[in-house]
Amino acid sequence: MSSHAKNRNQDTTIKKRGEKHYVMLYTRYERFWHWSQALLIFTLFFTGLGLHGTHDLIDFRTAVEIHTYAAIALIVLWIFTTFWNFTTGQWRQYLFKEGVLKVIRFYAYGILVGEPHPYRKCLQRKQNALQSLAYMGFMIFIGPALWASGIVYLFYDLWSGYSWSGNGLFLIAFLHTAAAFLMGIFVIIHIYMTTTGKTPTHYIKTMISGYDSIELTEAEVAYIEETHAVSMKD
């Protein structure tokens, strides 16, 4: 084990890590956002595949209704969440972090041979570099590609009168479908990644309860005890 210690972030050698504490990492709103978003995305993916003709498990008319309402709900959720991200400053979580290659190397190799994760969760940094990059991609590429094409698609009737509407519909449907496939791939990998914690369900439990056990510095512990800014169970 000791040989792997060199791989750790330099931070750990500068800031003194203390004991592990069970603290609220994912606030109530974050969890609400995450799980309602998950539900909506599953609903949209299922009904969307139905509309696309991939399966016949749902009647087209019902699929149109559910898909439309779920899409509107998701857009509203995202508007709220964007607001939340900026007012709370949580948007910084998604900024690019160094060490992406190390994380990739870990998942490709280190995880198999029992290396520790090159990144340590801490109070102000909930995500590793690869996560941040993936979520950022989700939020600035896959998400917008879906909602932007989806809104244009939904309001087809407003532009159906133009001579280019036939080609336009093809293009919009193409983009929307392509983005949906990307979303599907994201979801598959995302769900798999949740099994890579201490136990296969550790991350999922964390996302439900909001609490995770992380190392806190002495200063952080003192700050929390003084202000109760973050909920801590022990």
């Binding site: 696309h52 003709g53 087209f60 008319r61 309402y69 041979v113 159906s160 036939g166 599907g184 791939i185």
Partner: protein
């Protein structure tokens, strides 16, 4: 003199035969003979004899005039023109108005294509041409006595007011000239028309007045249109929500609004996309479109699906969803007609076979010596295509290449990207009929006549075509053959209750009704070949990848544990 004697002889022979058939009919019915039984003579040429001759109810409230109180209508009348004279003595301008109508002129100069259309000259895919056969075909001309070129289109007394305005049900029309012996027998044995009674019983037309011709187009009940047949005289709610005899009970003219005897709704120049809707408040719009009453956004905007359906109005005709099938009233429509088999005889006589039994129990002829073989359909799914309202006819002058597949006798124009067409339902008729092999044109056949050249008598295509062409001054190569033809009848009647309208998935699916229409993207029907392959592969690849990764993790974790333990 000789001719008259022959006619008299024919008529009396016919009358005897008719009486014989009348006597025999109940016995035949009782012995439960199969419908394919061959009858010696084709005796239902008068295709417009209807069992139910009582008028339908048309309730417009009480008229300001009770025609039974007019002295001039008491008669006595000996003929139709005498009644017309009486009508026109009060309705002084009606004759002039009516003479503008296509019901009188049988002519239509198409303003867009410049084609000269109208029954007077057109080729059709049924009995092929009225031209030259007016003695029979002009039974459906709203006039008296058009049997040849000598008919006077300027004489108002020749107008037949009664065919449209008789509300007693006692009026009928017969051919304007006697046909061959094989045919003339069919018109014997009718009660004489009680002229005074029908003259005093006039009113606005009921459905059966228009239907007397329009239900029987193409030579029989429901033959031509598929959405117009005798079942619409007293239709149920399920058959037609508007004409529903127990409900809205629309007359034809409720939609086909009339101004000075000119009617809205043309089959030559169809208003396939009405973007004006109901018009301004109080504005009268002389169109027969759905939109003129229902607006161009008839579904509820308060529901998502309603909004989506309103969004379909620019591309989908109302009829496409709201008339799920045609010929639903128990009366079949003809779908195929093959003239090649016509002319077979048994013991020198024409015959017919009735091997189709339609919904209302009547047997329909699947073969007639005078016409050939037929196929029928009921509850038919229409043919769908983009339509901008423009019909393009193959007239007697049009040349075509018979090698290029079926000739569209009334083709139509439209495309998915012209910005004006909508997807319309059509009844498509498939016929095999004679054409001029040398000139590659259609032909006029001389079908009807009391002479040796009429096909309906001699069963000789060569002579019938030669004479039909010659008598109308059309060049003929002298050689004929048969060519497959299509005709298309835009569907607009038999509007079903809204709960029977087509659902989204009837079209938005891989095997939907619009499968054959190409060139545009339709959700649920179309996919993106390469994107889909790539997408499914990527999804499968991702699943496989994480599965493999998971297995590796499991495998190595055991190994690591063993190593740590050791």
């Amino acid at each position: 003199m000789y001719k008259q004697l022959t006619l008299a002889f024919n008529a009396s022979v016919g009358a005897c035969l008719w009486a014989l058939i009348l006597v025999l009919t109940p016995a035949v019915g009782a012995s439960d003979t199969s419908p394919s039984d061959v009858e010696p003579v084709d005796n239902n040429m008068n295709f417009r004899i209807v069992a139910d001759s009582k008028p339908s109810i048309r309730d417009d409230g009480e008229s300001t005039a009770d025609h039974s109180k007019f002295e001039i209508l008491e008669g006595p009348f000996e003929s139709g023109p005498e009644v017309t004279k009486a009508c026109l003595s009060c309705h002084t301008e009606a004759g002039r108005h009516f003479m503008q109508s296509i019901h009188w002129t049988w002519e239509y100069d198409h303003p867009e294509t410049g084609q000269k259309l109208g029954k007077k000259t057109l080729i059709n895919t049924f009995c092929t041409n009225a031209k030259g056969n007016e003695g029979m075909c002009a039974q459906c001309h709203a006039g008296y006595g058009w049997k040849d070129e000598t008919f006077d289109f300027t004489n108002q007394d020749n107008i037949d007011c009664l065919v449209c305005h008789d509300r007693t049900g006692a009026y009928y029309k017969t051919p304007n000239s006697l046909g061959n012996k094989a045919c003339s027998v069919m018109f014997e044995g009718k009660q004489p028309i009680p002229w005074s009674k029908v003259a005093q019983g006039v009113g606005k037309p009921g459905r059966e007045n228009c239907g007397a011709c329009h239900f029987y187009g193409g030579g029989g009940d429901g033959v031509k249109h598929g959405d117009l047949d005798s079942s619409l005289k007293r239709p149920s709610h399920d058959l037609d929500v508007h004409m529903d005899a127990e409900g809205l009970n629309f007359a034809c003219t409720t939609c086909h609004v009339t101004r000075q005897h000119l009617w809205a709704g043309s089959r030559y120049n169809v208003m396939a996309h009405d973007t004006e809707g109901v018009g301004l408040p109080g504005e009268r719009r002389d169109v027969a479109t759905c939109e003129s009453c229902h607006s161009d956004a008839p579904h509820s905007y308060s529901e998502l699906i309603g909004s989506k359906l309103n969004g379909h109005v620019d591309k989908i005709a109302c009829q496409t969803c709201h008339i799920p099938t045609i010929a639903r009233g128990g009366v079949a429509t003809k779908t195929e007609w093959d003239w090649r088999t016509a002319g077979k005889t048994k013991n020198g006589e024409g015959f017919k076979e009735k091997n189709y039994t339609q919904g209302n129990g009547e047997h329909r002829a699947t073969y007639k010596s005078i016409k050939g073989s037929f196929k029928y359909g009921e509850n038919l799914v229409p043919h769908y295509d983009w339509f901008d309202g423009q019909m393009i006819y193959t007239t007697i002058e049009s040349q075509f290449d018979p090698a290029k597949g079926p000739v569209e006798i009334n083709g139509f124009q439209g495309s998915h990207n012209d910005g004006k067409s909508r997807i319309w339902p059509f009844k498509r008729m498939v016929t095999v009929q004679p054409y001029d092999k040398g000139n590659n044109t259609m032909v006029y056949m001389h079908l009807w006549g009391d002479d040796n050249d009429a096909y309906w008598g001699n069963y000789d295509f060569g002579r019938a075509i030669k004479v039909g062409m010659a008598k109308n001054d059309i060049p003929y190569s002298g050689e004929f053959d048969f060519v497959e033809t299509y005709s298309f009848w835009p569907i607009t009647h038999m509007v079903a209750p809204k709960e029977d309208a087509m659902g989204c998935a009837d079209c938005h699916s891989r095997e939907g009704r619009l499968n054959e229409l190409e060139g545009f993207y339709m959700p649920g029907r179309d996919s993106f070949r390469w994107l889909d392959i790539l997408g499914y592969l990527a999804l499968g690849g991702a699943l496989l990848g994480v599965l493999l990764h998971g297995l590796l993790r499991k495998f190595f974790s055991h190994k690591n544990q063993r190593r740590d333990a050791s």
